[in-house]
């Protein structure tokens, strides 16, 4: 059997997905047996121009991590889509926008003003901003355009599969790679994880009755070690987050923050969490309900921590 041709790419991301890909450990050898990596800027010396020369659909699968933040990210996403038979959004940034997607609460100008003018260590009285094209005495220099809005990969090109997580856990990564190696691919659009249910489903904490009178912030209380964190008033996102990670954060006494995205069938993870939270508030009094919800200081940034670009809201309107 001919070896598979695989490409890996990062757009606007932190590099954690690259480390996560390597975390499959000795299984890398199995991967190397079954597949040749034809493009991986972080690991091998193949340049954009080499990819441009490849025939369309000549790459069997592309694992694309990172969101679309600049014109360069978009250009490469389109290029790799044309060259690849299967396009996989790998990790939360390409799947949902992730934490850098919180940038959609603001716009480019606000981001530039903060970074290049307002920050107290910045000394920039002339208000110099980075420019896409700059004339210097020796010639011209260019850098990619920084977009107003962070986009997901699926908002940029057609995507076949999604691998959730920030970053995906080792076993989740392997599930996707194994499907590629064996050719046993699921239906188009599948989110590849061991679970279609929530993190709660795999969390060992004891669950009783979810009735909340008060929400606490993680620094305010020391939670009981065995009991459900949400029942103790900590805003644990496990209830509205896809499982597959093994409930790592709750087992470290910290609430889930939602990095594996929505459970199967849910379009908007934030709205799902909000409705789940609303249903467990232990009050029928509108005033009291409002007081209880006031304990959640940043609802938009918490409910959409990983999914703002992919949500129905997509971004804040800036007046």
């Amino acid at each position: 059997m001919a070896k598979l041709k695989i490409a890996l790419y990062w757009a606007a991301s932190c590099g954690g997905c690259e480390i996560a890909t390597l975390a499959i450990g000795e299984k890398i050898l199995q991967l190397a047996e079954a597949a040749d990596i034809v493009f991986w800027p972080v690991g091998i010396d193949v340049k954009y121009a080499d990819v441009e020369k490849m025939p369309d659909n000549s790459i069997d699968a592309c694992l694309f991590n990172g969101a679309i933040r600049t014109s360069e990210n978009e250009h490469i996403a389109k290029l790799l889509r044309a060259k690849s038979k299967v396009m996989i959004a790998y990790g939360s940034c390409s799947y949902e926008g992730c934490i850098p997607g919180l940038s959609n609460f603001y716009n480019r100008q606000m981001t530039f003003d903060r970074a290049y003018v307002e920050t107290p260590s910045t000394d920039n009285p002339e208000k110099v901003y980075p420019q896409t094209k700059v004339k210097v005495p020796e010639g011209e220099l260019d850098i990619p355009e920084f977009y107003d809005t962070v986009k997901t990969l699926a908002q940029t090109v057609d995507v076949d599969y999604f691998v959730p997580g920030c970053p995906p856990e080792e076993k989740t990564t392997w599930l996707a790679l194994e499907a590629l190696i064996t050719g046993n691919l699921p239906a188009k659009g599948t989110v590849i994880s061991h679970s279609i249910k929530s993190v709660c489903d795999e969390c060992p904490r004891r669950k009783e009755e979810k009735k909340i009178k008060k929400f606490y912030r993680p620094y305010e209380i020391v939670p009981e070690p065995e009991k459900c964190l949400l029942e103790q008033g900590l805003l644990c996102y496990g209830i509205a987050t896809r499982g597959g990670c093994g409930a790592l954060c709750p087992q470290a006494n910290m609430p889930c923050t939602g990095c594996y995205g929505p459970v199967e069938g849910v379009i908007d993870q934030g709205a799902h969490f909000l409705s789940a939270i609303s249903s467990i508030i232990d009050s029928n009094d509108p005033g009291e309900i409002e007081r209880i919800l006031d304990d959640i200081p940043d609802p938009a940034g918490t409910f959409y921590r990983y999914s703002l670009p992919d949500s129905l809201l997509r971004r804040a309107r800036i007046k």
Binding site: L141, M254, P297
Partner: protein
């Protein structure tokens, strides 16, 4: 005028670009090192709950999330006016030391060693980690993989997750470790010390006993006289987790020493229109452009800088190596950029020894790991030494603890002016009129920035091979004359 583009610099996050402009006679007219990426953390952190910042800001870098998590957690201690318990501080520093062992191991063996062990002119296909293992033996290769793997287990055990930990809280950490975990970490710490010693022996055998390499380390092409920055304890000894920031001048005299909260009195950042990254400099010297010396505010914050800025190490084996290094290099401070690799190995040994000290501390399994803050949050600064430089997180919140303002000065950013200058100087010294531009020559230019362990958004550097380049040379009309590539094929 000819323009040589090195674009993208792969194996760097943030796709760095280097443009080398040549004069009509073929000498170097100017060099630009561009960082074409920004993600905007300082803006979108606004409005977020402060206690979420350790988990938000670590998404700046998936290679060194532990550094951001730790600087941020310390900023929260300061912001909420709460002192962590003694056991919590030790657990944080234990995780952090373990992280240093993995990070420095990765850099030395996978990025730096190929140049020295295989040689700068070796065929690119050999000049990578596989070549290194082939030459020094599978046993050492196995030790590299084992050291990384075991210390990742330590990070997950204490930090809750293998990548992007979740354990940091103002006043403490989220979970204790038990005796069984402690025993396992102790074994890993001790084997990390052995690994640190072995790594210094490899450096000694391969670099120090080879006169050609030592001459290259000491050559002017790879030298800059700058200020040096690093975190020190109360005795001016190196510490990665806590202390005051000390800066020494190019003669090695203390220029300033400051507590994290005073960082704005000492550091400022310069903006250029052709790059998304800013250039930090010493405010009280001033921005004088891309030049070194006492009158220029350019400073470096690297492993060698930390050793230059301190009076020594607190652990015995690392102290011995520290003394040996400076006696070989002809005293302190050492301005030889390539000696940064050596300093990194001294630090690796220190981090491993520090792990042993901490894991043997009777308090390390204490369950007294949280102090609950009671004061109103307002403003906080947290500083740690990230492997690639002094890392500063500064937050201002409203009284509910929501971020109003956030300012970050990240490890690699400190060194932006310096590594730009290092590349420029190497290019100017090595590209001469009439001299053929060979692959080995380009690799020597590359060797000028590799010691900084660039992490432009923070970079990754954990894969086989070495930093590949593509250089395209254009004539005065912009026609492509020649294209050279290097890296593993």
């Amino acid at each position: 005028m000819k323009k040589i583009m090195i674009d993208p610099i792969t194996r760097l996050e943030g796709h760095g670009k280097i443009a080398i402009f040549l004069n009509d006679d073929g000498g170097v007219a100017n060099v630009y090192f561009q960082v074409p990426e920004l993600r905007g953390f300082e803006k979108f952190s606004e409005g977020r709950p402060a206690e979420d910042m350790p988990q938000i800001t670590q998404r700046i870098c998936g290679v060194c999330p532990e550094a951001h998590h730790m600087a941020s957690t310390k900023a929260l201690d300061n912001l909420f006016h709460v002192e962590p318990t003694s056991a919590a501080k030790k657990l944080r520093e234990l995780l952090y030391s373990s992280f240093y062992v993995t990070d420095h191991t990765t850099h030395f063996y996978i990025l730096a060693a190929p140049d020295f062990i295989m040689g700068p002119d070796a065929a690119p296909a050999e000049r990578n980690i596989l070549g290194v293992i082939g030459k020094v033996g599978l046993e050492l290769g196995g030790a590299v993989i084992r050291t990384r793997h075991e210390n990742h287990w330590v990070i997950q055990t204490i930090g809750g997750r293998p990548i992007h930990p979740c354990f940091g809280l103002p006043g403490g950490v989220s979970r204790p470790i038990n005796e069984e975990e402690r025993e396992k970490i102790e074994k890993i710490a001790k084997s990390s010390v052995e690994f640190g010693k072995l790594s210094l022996k490899v450096f000694d055998d391969v670099v120090l006993k080879n006169k050609d390499y030592l001459d290259m380390v000491l050559s002017d092409t790879f030298t800059h006289r700058t200020y040096y920055m690093g975190l020190v304890n109360e005795n001016n000894k190196v510490n990665f987790y806590d202390g005051q920031v000390r800066v020494v001048d190019p003669e090695g005299k203390e220029f300033c020493k400051y507590a994290p909260r005073d960082y704005l009195e000492h550091v400022a950042e310069h903006v250029e229109p052709w790059t998304y990254l800013k250039f930090p400099y010493l405010k009280n010297v001033g921005w004088k452009g891309f030049v070194d010396g006492n009158d220029s505010g350019v400073y470096r914050a690297t492993p060698l800088s930390r050793l230059n800025a301190a009076d020594g190490m607190t652990t015995p084996l690392a102290q011995e190596e520290y003394e040996k290094m400076y006696s070989t290099l002809g005293g302190k401070p050492a301005h030889f950029t390539l000696a940064t690799h050596w300093a990194r190995l001294v630090e690796l040994l220190y981090a491993a020894e520090r792990m042993v000290e901490l894991v043997q501390d009777p308090e390390i399994t204490s369950t007294d790991i949280r102090n609950i803050p009671t004061a109103k949050p307002d403003e906080g600064v947290g500083i740690v030494e990230a492997p690639r430089g002094t890392l500063t997180h500064h937050y201002i919140t409203d009284e509910r603890g929501l971020i109003e303002k956030c300012n970050l000065i990240v490890g690699t950013t400190n060194n932006y002016a310096a590594f730009y200058m290092s590349v420029k100087k190497a290019a100017e010294d090595l590209i001469k009129p009439g001299k053929k531009i060979t692959e080995g020559l380009l690799n020597r230019i590359e060797m000028a920035w590799r010691p900084y362990d660039l992490c432009l958004a923070c970079a990754t550097h954990s894969l086989p091979g070495q930093l590949p380049l593509e250089v395209t040379i254009y004539d005065a009309q912009g026609n492509e004359l020649e294209k050279l590539t290097q890296g593993i094929s």
